[in-house]
């Protein structure tokens, strides 16, 4: 039905170099395909990540949230190459990091990802400035003279230039974390990965660090931040929710807050991520409905026909909103045409009818909420049609 306008996301396996924006065929700055990480310990085997698929675009500020032990840090460690995956594929820019040997990986990381830790991890015997100069030294970035100048510039950027020649032990937690951020920026990497960067800071300091992150994102950096602070996460441009080693679709969780984590994981597993190019029709008025959609990225237009055969955009829906439920619940044909935004296009999470119905069956609250929405949307649709008819008359 959608022909070449549709690209199904989340497929694993290497893509042909010509397919995407990057050398390995990936369209996104960061792509994870079916990433599994298993640890073996005295207590037995433990799978921390269970087949993660994820895409992050340049300039995004992604908060990775989840309960303790959900695999947040492991996920970020996989992306930074701090830890090795058991199976799957991670593409960052032009690099398939699972193919890099340890030495190359370290150098690549030094140049491309700035890592920030919860406990700062500054080398105790080096001053703040020297800690920042160290990655430049390792990666042979900038001339020897420039390194000091850049370190001072970065310290100024993070607001602790006056602490340049002090050892970490003499700095406060907030100052140490600022130095650690400056160190992460040392080689001007496009990506910053921060594991609980505010977890060891008081709320005021945490706020200032977070503001710094927002500034950096505004300057074009991509930030992946592990946090368990949902308030901070809300301020990120995107949230990746992890539960028991699996990613929960963010907007699914927002749409159905009444679902348990297990139900959300199951539902995430059943959804089909679909990408529509700008202007592509998703639902055609009068056609038989077969799917339920949640918008995960971009926008859709709800289009109604006018008597003169023209179409009118009755409303637009943005990420987090859903459509297709009216027809699935009420029966009959689509009451409106829904198409991807002509500029942005749209990405949706699609559920087959049976999966949608099992979602409703799983929770009375979800069932009631959907039915309420159905009633409201029918009312809105009828009101819109009346307006159109009046206008036409």
């Amino acid at each position: 039905m959608f022909g070449s306008q549709l690209r199904k996301n989340g497929s694993s396996g290497a893509k042909t170099p010509s397919n995407g924006r990057y050398r390995n065929g990936n369209d996104h700055l960061i792509e994870l395909h079916d990433v599994v990480k298993t640890y073996r310990s005295a207590a037995g085997e433990f799978t921390a990540l269970k087949g993660i698929d994820l895409e992050v675009d340049g300039g995004e500020f992604v908060a990775v949230i989840g309960k303790s032990g959900s695999g947040k840090s492991t996920l970020v460690n996989m992306i930074t190459g701090i830890d090795r995956l058991t199976s799957g594929e991670i593409l960052v820019g032009d690099t398939a990091i699972q193919n890099l040997k340890e030495g190359k990986l370290a150098e690549w990381r030094g140049r491309n990802i700035g890592v920030i830790f919860q406990f700062f991890q500054l080398l105790p015997t080096l001053t703040a400035a020297e800690n920042i100069m160290l990655p430049m030294d390792f990666c042979r970035m900038y001339s020897t003279r420039e390194r000091r100048e850049r370190a001072m510039h970065l310290l100024e950027l993070v607001g602790v230039a006056d602490q340049a020649d002090k050892l970490p032990s003499t700095l406060s937690g907030g100052q140490q974390q600022r130095v650690a951020i400056a160190r992460a920026l040392a080689n001007d990497p496009p990506i910053l990965a921060a594991d609980e960067p505010t977890g060891n800071l008081d709320s005021k300091t945490a706020e200032s660090v977070f503001s710094l992150f927002e500034t950096l994102v505004a300057q074009g950096k991509t930030i992946l931040m592990v946090t368990h602070d949902r308030d901070l996460a809300r301020r990120a441009t995107r949230t990746v929710i992890l539960s028991d080693g699996a990613v929960i679709e963010e907007y699914l969780a927002k749409t159905f807050p009444a679902l348990t984590e297990a139900q959300l994981i199951e539902a995430t597993r059943n959804l089909e991520p679909v990408k529509f190019l700008p202007g592509a029709v998703i639902l055609q008025q009068g056609a038989a409905p077969d799917k339920f959609f949640i918008i995960t990225r971009g926008r859709v237009e709800v289009v109604l026909p006018e008597a003169n055969g023209q179409e009118i955009v009755a409303t637009t829906m943005v990420k987090g909103q859903y459509f297709g439920e009216v027809e699935l619940r009420r029966g009959g044909h689509n009451i409106a045409t829904i198409r991807a935004d002509p500029v942005l296009g749209v990405e949706v999470a699609a559920f087959e009818r049976a999966e949608f119905e099992s979602l409703l069956a799983a929770s009375t609250a979800v069932h009631d909420a959907i039915d309420r929405t159905v009633s409201e949307r029918i009312a809105e649709n009828e009101a819109a049609r009346s307006r159109l008819e009046r206008n036409h008359a």
Binding site: K37, T38, Y39, R40, S41, A42, N77, T80, I82, D83, R84, T86, E102, G103, K104, A106, E107, R109, G110, R111, G114, V115, F117, F119, Q121, L123, P124, T125, L126, E130, N131, M133, L134, P135, D137, F138, C139, T144, R183, A184, A186, N187
Partner: protein, 826 residues
């Protein structure tokens, strides 16, 4: 400008001074041991041989009947003879001024040398040497050190290495008694240096020089009795020298004189060199052991140091450091440790080498030249200082630099047990299943149990620490076992010939007269007259052996208890029967029971037959023959030159008193006594020679113990450091300072005691090996082995004290850990 990574190296070194000190000391101990021993080896042998060569040493010394300048002239003109000198040396005895004063009733006071505080009646041996012209000595030169030169008439010059033992100073007067009984008072006119003479303590006699006029004053002939010959040509072999010696001997024998003995030293080497080299070699082996232990220590310390740095390695990798950069940083740090250790150990090793060489120089009478470190020794030290730590650290650095940053950064905290295996790492695992579980309920308090279990947590580190302590302990106990073996060997030697005193006469007397007169002396309960002669074996190929003592005890003697290894002992009717001992057999291995044996005794060749082989003791090659036959053979029927007596009681004082009374009695009845000696005195003298070696061995053992203690301190410090969080948690749940202190000290003590158990076990074979080696070096036979229980108990005390002392500082640090520290300790 120094890059941040090298600044990190410098600050890591400077920032943790205790750790840096421990690592540097670990490396330095090995360098010091090697530097001291190889430095002293080189310096001793070089100085010994240089000094010896400067004397123009004789290629051979021939002991003959008296001869004159005419024969000397003839020998000098023999083909193959470069130079020849004649001298006269005769054994006398002396009393020093303090003895003379004490005999006169004046008790010596002030700074009188200790050796002078002797029995005023006690004569001691002195060898008087007379050259025809002291200014023109060509062979075996001697040099004036102070005072008069050459020896003025009726005065004496003393060899410098005899001064202290003799208890004399320049201008003193000593009383000398010649073998003919003539006593003369001689003024000590000066001191000379004769590099061919050793310490008087070792030789048991003083060395002095007199003019031929003084010789005549004693009633002796001006003629010579030793011929010192230098062979013409360079790098002559022993067989070439033997050939020349044969020519010289023929010349002397053709003049109607008897040759008693020919001594041909190893060409180009000091006579003591052959004895010193093996001792230096044993010390060298111990030095290498110290180096190996130091290597263990370095491996241990490096591994621990790198374990501490693993997190930082992880951080550096996380911010872009490649594995080879990390390896570069830590190898740089290791090399810096090596350089620091060299800076400490090279001067100390040189000082030690100088001290040791000076001691040897004093003992062997050579001058130590300069303080420079021989280039070869310095090169060895530098190689050890850099290579040992680098080799020790290479594997830990390599494996630590290769782990992923996550592994590196998670390797801390409560669960920091042994590091993962590479297989586990590659599969991404975080640990491994314990091989066993502690199910046994031990009757100890919880803190003690914790110590017990902590001890075995870092098994690799424990093994290396134990190895160091075990070897140190085993060597310590083994050295004591060598000492006890010396005593045991001497015991069996005196058990073999069971006497308390021996008196030698200037001429022979009837054996029964000797025994009868001796038994008249109160305190003497048994006495016999024996013969002692010297012989050389004439081998089937015509060559002659070194001289060997022939002992002819009374056939029914109760004072000799031989241990027969093969064949039989002498019986009263034996004629040409000879019992050789195993040490003679070692020199003459073709002999067996029943072999014919041709002996040259007093210049005459005689035929014998080997009837038995006596085992090991006494510690010299010895032949036993039947007294009646021997006395007939020597043309002195029933004559004997030696009185062997047994005293009652048998303690040293009673022995000395009885021996003195015996000499007085014998003199009173007109018998001419040459010298007397008690078995205790002889024993002390022999033990004295071993003590020197034992002291050196003990120095090495102490050095090894120090290595062990440093190792233990390091291990305990690192254990405490690694468990900071754990200790903090214990503090949080109520552990007092005392409990934490106790946990650490008990762990250290436990390591000490475990090391003692294994060390004691290892000490038995090691002691046997060492005692056999030293026996073979010094006595040409293995000693009777005695394991030292005292050494074992002593080491238990030392190991326990060392363990506790080594744990005190780490324990104090542990007890100072606060809960707040731990919370800040990420």
């Amino acid at each position: 400008m120094l890059s941040p990574r090298w600044r990190k190296v410098l600050r890591d070194l400077w920032g943790n001074k205790l750790r840096t000190t421990l690592v540097v000391l670990s490396i330095a101990v090995g360098i010091f041991a090697v530097g001291m021993i190889s430095g002293s080896q080189e310096a001793t042998m070089a100085a010994l041989n240089t000094g010896w060569q400067a004397t123009n040493p004789s290629s051979m010394t021939i002991y003959t009947d008296l001869f004159d300048e005419e024969l000397l002239y003839a020998v000098r003109h023999l083909p193959g003879v470069k130079e020849a000198d004649g001298l006269r040396a005769f054994g006398a005895r002396f009393k020093n001024p303090a003895q003379l004063a004490a005999a006169a009733g004046n008790v010596p006071t002030g700074d009188t040398p200790v050796n002078a505080m002797l029995d005023p009646e006690k004569w001691r041996n002195i060898s008087l040497i007379a050259y025809p012209d002291f200014e023109a000595i060509q062979v075996g030169k001697i040099w004036p050190q102070s005072g008069a030169w050459p020896p003025p008439e009726h005065q004496i010059l003393i060899e410098r290495a005899s001064m202290a033992w003799m208890g004399v100073r320049t201008d003193d007067t000593i009383l000398v008694e010649a073998p003919n009984g003539r006593q003369r008072r001689l003024r000590v006119a000066g001191v000379v240096h004769d590099p061919g003479q050793m310490q008087a303590t070792w030789m048991g006699q003083g060395i002095a020089y007199i003019s031929r006029d003084t010789l005549e004053w004693f009633g002796a002939s001006r003629d010579f009795d030793q011929l010192h010959v230098v062979a013409a040509g360079e790098n002559l072999t022993r067989s070439q020298l033997n050939q020349l010696a044969q020519q010289v001997r023929s010349k002397v024998e053709k003049s109607g004189r008897t040759i008693y003995y020919t001594y041909i030293p190893t060409p180009g080497k000091h006579p003591a060199g052959e004895a010193v080299e093996p001792i230096l070699m044993v010390l060298g082996v111990l030095g290498i052991l110290a180096l190996v232990l130091s290597g263990f220590l370095v491996v241990n310390t490096m591994q621990a140091l790198l374990t501490q740095q693993v997190r930082q390695m992880g951080i550096m990798k996380a911010i872009g450091a490649r594995s080879n950069q990390i390896m570069g940083i830590y190898l740089g740090m290791v090399i810096a440790f090596g350089v620091l250790a060299l800076a400490v150990a090279v001067p100390l090793g040189a000082l030690g080498a100088r001290g040791f060489t000076q001691y040897m120089g004093n003992l062997l009478n050579f001058d130590v030249i300069g303080l420079s470190i021989p280039p070869r020794v310095l090169a060895t030290e530098i190689m050890i200082g850099l290579a040992v730590p680098v080799l020790a650290a290479l594997y830990p650095i390599f494996s630590a630099a290769r782990i992923t940053p996550r592994e590196a950064m998670s390797d801390y905290g409560l669960a920091s047990g042994a590091r993962q295996t590479s297989a586990a790492r590659s599969s991404g695992s975080t640990g491994k299943k314990p091989r066993f579980e502690l199910r046994v309920r031990l009757p100890f308090s919880r803190p003690t149990l914790l110590s017990l279990r902590n001890t075995f947590r870092r098994k690799g580190r424990l093994a290396l620490t134990l190895a160091t302590l075990i070897l140190g302990g085993a060597i310590f106990i083994a050295v004591f076992s060598v000492r006890e073996s010396v005593f045991k060997t001497l015991d069996s030697m005196y058990d073999y010939v069971d006497y308390d005193a021996i008196v030698a006469f200037r001429r022979e007397y009837r054996a029964d007269q000797i025994a009868r007169e001796a038994l008249k002396v109160p305190g003497i309960v048994a006495a016999e007259g024996w013969r002692f002669d010297s012989a050389r074996r004439i081998r089937p190929d015509g060559t002659e052996s070194d001289p060997v003592f022939m002992r002819a005890p009374q056939p029914d003697s109760a004072l000799i208890r031989p241990r027969i290894a093969e064949g039989r002992w002498i019986v009263p009717d034996d004629e040409n029967a000879v019992v050789i001992n195993t040490m003679f057999l070692k020199d003459e291995p073709d002999l067996k029971v029943g072999s014919p044996l041709k002996l040259k005794i007093a210049g005459k060749e005689t035929a014998w037959q080997v009837v038995g082989i006596a085992s090991g003791t006494p510690p010299a090659p010895m032949l036993h023959v039947n007294y009646p036959y021997m006395s007939r053979l020597m043309g002195a029927v029933e004559q004997a030159g030696i009185a062997i007596v047994v005293t009652a009681p048998r303690d040293p004082a009673s022995q000395a008193a009885a021996a003195k009374a015996l000499e007085e009695h014998l003199k009173a009845v007109g018998m001419e006594v040459n010298y007397r000696q008690t078995s205790s005195e002889e024993r002390t003298q022999i033990i004295g020679r071993f003590e020197v070696l034992i002291v050196f061995l003990l120095i090495m053992a102490v050095l090894l113990a120090v290595v062990g203690a440093i190792g233990l301190t390091g291990t305990m410090s690192l254990n405490v450091l690694e468990r900071t969080r754990e200790i903090g948690v214990m503090r949080a749940i109520g552990a007092s300072d005392g409990s934490v202190f106790q946990i650490v000290v008990v762990e250290g003590l436990l390591i000490g005691v475990i090391s003692w158990c294994f060390g004691a076990l290892l000490a038995y074979p090691l002691g046997k090996l060492l005692s056999d080696a030293i026996g073979n070096i010094t006595m040409k036979t293995a000693m009777d082995y005695a394991f030292s229980v005292n050494g074992m108990v002593g080491w238990l005390v030392i190991a326990s004290v060392l363990a506790v002392v080594a744990s005190l500082l780490p324990a104090r640090n542990a007890s100072r850990v606060s809960v707040r520290d731990v919370l800040a300790y990420e």
